[in-house]
Symmetry: C2
């Protein structure tokens, strides 16, 4: 039930740092032995080999993994890894890098669950920084590592949760927890900025913004 | 009072598309005449030349510009443009790309107001997609072009705004507008997820999430 990361280049090393900071269980695959050696004492298992080979993916535990993240700098390589990993483990979630935006639809057709093009993301972020600087700064802090005060959290309401079948205004989410319910994902429906009369149902996925300590309380509740 | 974009490569072209879609006034500078020619009929002024030359920046109106976005694939080139544009117009806001994360502090020292490293951003996004997929999807839609329903908006409360000096619970932001106040930026203070008794002051910068049509109503109010 771990994550596999393919490639430790510029993008991959940032994936590495984030997963390590978030204390996620993961394994990395890196072809270049010199680069792999830099991570030898990181406490994270490193498989030295080519992630497009079945036996290398198997060595990284592809059959037991829940997610694979492939960060190679070429779209052909990533496409091959997307297809191979879905072949070896049809239940795995695959997140892939795209170097060119033209590659995005092809990677999706190959079975990728999520495709991220760093250049496009960066360009969009630069433009939005010029137009809505405060919103960009806010979103940045939400996903930044050092923001200990406020956070975005997501969790699913179980049928025995105290939140189940309560209207938002009776939930105390805002009053007791200082939290704001931004989105309810209910099946294929998305309810953005739900009103006070909205009733929270078992199975709802909630996206909540609020103080980090209150959020962990909430998630335990 | 326009924006200048330097470079129309992979990152720059995405800046171009976003600014165009958001109907911002802007000018681009591109050294490569063939690439520049592709934008000839875009309706956006293109200066063909090297953005590190004073006279090219002047041709793009650096003295009247409010923001410059430099997207070159090399950090030395971007650093030079950051320094030159601040020399020519000390009031300009400068947003720069960093190719290597090591370059970030240097670009900041050179005077950049905002430094964005697409690889680091992409890597962090890929890792967060594995950990908090719903939150990532939510944040993506906030800044995506086609999300017409919900949006993040920011605006400053003027002293004659009907919001000025009202407690959040009396503002009707949630009840009448279906909006959620996420953050108040007050001078150097940031108030995240403000409670119902928080009083909105003139000069406060508000970051609000809600239905797009209600937000434009709010901003006019
Ligand atoms: Ca969670
Ligand atoms: Ca605005």
């Amino acid at each position: 039930n771990h994550i596999i990361v393919c490639g430790l280049g510029r993008v991959g090393s940032e994936v590495f740092n984030t997963l390590k900071h978030e204390k996620q269980p993961f394994v990395v695959i890196e072809k270049n032995p010199e680069r792999a050696a830099l991570y030898r004492h990181s406490g994270v298992p490193v498989v030295v080999g080519d992630a497009s080979e079945d036996k290398v993916l198997e060595q990284a535990g592809i059959h037991r993994a829940r997610t694979l993240i492939t960060t190679l700098p070429d779209d052909a390589g990533n496409l091959f890894i997307v297809m191979t990993s879905k072949d070896l483990n049809p239940n795995i979630k695959v997140i892939t890098r795209a170097t060119r935006s033209e590659g995005i639809p092809r990677l999706k057709r190959a079975g990728a669950d999520s495709v991220i093009a760093p250049s496009a993301l960066g360009g969009r972020r630069m433009a939005m920084s010029a137009i809505k600087p405060a919103s960009v700064a806010f979103v940045q802090t939400l996903f930044e590592r050092h923001n200990v005060y406020y956070q975005l959290e997501e969790f699913t309401v179980s049928s025995n949760s105290w939140l189940a079948n309560k209207a938002l205004k009776e939930s105390g989410l805002r009053e007791k927890f200082g939290c704001q319910l931004l989105v309810i994902n209910r099946g294929h429906e998305t309810i953005g900025s739900p009103g006070p009369d909205e009733v929270i149902l078992p199975g709802d996925e909630l996206i909540v913004f609020g103080p980090s300590d209150k959020l962990s309380e909430l998630e335990k509740a």
